[in-house]
């Protein structure tokens, strides 16, 4: 049994919150450059120019990339031979969020759903735990903005609707969202599981790198087909028209009930802020 101190988790999480909001991942930067080169419209190119200047400025000044520094979402793999000393893991992660959002001058966006009273420290974080073999702790963090989250949907399709039904729902969702979720977006799709599990699959899919290829050839083909169709919508960067409505489509799938075809579409804005650390 390996033991790590809770303080190590707190400091690591705080650093992840700050760095994610300050440094845009390389794969996202690269996709801006590739997409800008393809755009013919001056308005679309201007959006990419501003977004590029924005990530350069955030890196230089330490200001967050976006004022919406997100709700803190975590996927945590806890090794079954690992023990955390000093504090419960969930509490340590929340303490790290408190520290990171305070020290990084990040916006505290968590509030009571009905009174709308701000919790003032961006907690509680949304944490998905998994128990895995080994003695390591793998923490993936995502700063999830509200604008794109609001455009996300879950639906329970009839099994007969199959892939055509899935394809149609995703296209309709992105078309309807239009300029609202800060396109170009990344579309995370969860197929299968249950009503609650499909959106977790969709969210976890958003942690993948934009330029990776789904190891399942069938899902990889579906991702390519959907991305191509989505970009034909022509919504473009910030809804001003253009060839880049989406930067990527990431699909995760899991078996479901014989009666069901759960589908979740989790939309991520272009400011795709996430990172992973193993302790």
């Amino acid at each position: 049994m390996r033991t790590i101190d809770a303080s190590q988790i707190i400091d690591t999480v705080a650093r992840m919150c700050i760095d994610s909001n300050r440094y845009l991942p390389t794969d996202v930067r690269d996709s801006f450059a590739r997409s800008a080169a393809r755009e013919e419209s001056p308005a679309a190119r201007e959006v990419f120019r501003q977004l590029t200047e924005n990530y350069e400025l955030a890196e230089q000044t330490g200001l967050p990339l976006c004022q919406d520094t997100g709700l803190a979402v975590f996927f945590v793999d806890v090794g079954e031979d690992l023990r955390v000393a000093g504090m419960n893991i969930r509490e340590a992660i929340n303490e790290g969020v408190r520290k990171g959002y305070a020290e990084g001058y990040l916006r505290k966006s968590a509030c009571d759903p009905l009174t709308r009273a701000n919790t003032k420290d961006n907690t509680p974080a949304v944490i998905h735990f998994d128990i895995v073999p080994g003695d390591k702790l793998k923490i993936a963090f995502m700063a999830k903005g509200g604008g794109s989250e609001n455009m996300s949907r879950v639906t329970m399709l009839a099994p007969a609707q199959g892939w055509p039904g899935i394809r149609k729902f995703v296209l309709e969702r992105v078309a309807e969202a239009g300029p609202n979720p800060c396109p170009p977006t990344i579309v995370g799709i969860g197929i299968g599981g249950t009503f609650d599990y499909a959106p977790i699959l969709a969210k976890k899919a958003l942690l993948r790198k934009l330029d990776d290829v789904n190891p399942d050839p069938k899902l990889a083909a579906m991702e390519t087909e959907l991305l191509e169709a989505l970009n034909k919508l022509g919504i473009g960067p910030m809804g001003l028209g253009g060839k880049t409505t989406c930067l990527g489509v990431k699909i995760a799938m899991s078996p479901c009930h014989i009666a069901s075809l759960p589908l979740a579409v989790n939309i991520q804005c272009h400011s795709s802020r996430h990172r992973e650390v193993e302790l």
Binding site: E53, N54, L57, L63, L106, S109, L171, P179, L240
Partner: protein, 185 residues
Amino acid sequence: MAEHALQTPLNDADILKLRAGDVVRLTGTIYTARDAAHKRLCDLLDKGEPLPFDLQGSVIYYVGPSPAPPGSPIGAAGPTTSYRMDTYAPRLHSLGCKASVGKGKRSDAVKQALKDHTAVYFGATGGAGALLSKCITAAKVIAFDELGPEAIRELTVVDFPLLVINDSHGGELYVQPDRKAAGLE
């Protein structure tokens, strides 16, 4: 598509010359308000009480900035999605507010209010919060401090980069999705 340099407060002549797609560099004083602040403003109006700022010729920026780090007037300050303020916007336009700044689609009621009250809806680039904050030279909370990021702030802006999304003549910049090309029809 024309480019304009405008100074607040805005008047009808300023608004009437703007067309969807025009680029505007805005200088002067603007006020921040998003979801909770809009509700409070309309509650004050219901009670017949004075508002924390003069609506005449005003520009309202839909933003909840991140905290100001030492040495800066404000943190990142890009636009939030505007449709959530659609319920309140027509009333504020009818009382003299000349423009809102946000991102995303507006309701038909808001578009009609822009025509009825000679007002305009500007878009700023969503997710460019660090870049846009460089055009803000001063910021102070003037109301509802307890709302934190949602408090109303008076901002001084210089050459704030905006696009006219919906003008006062019924024009709109946002494109309709090409459903046919995407295989939806």
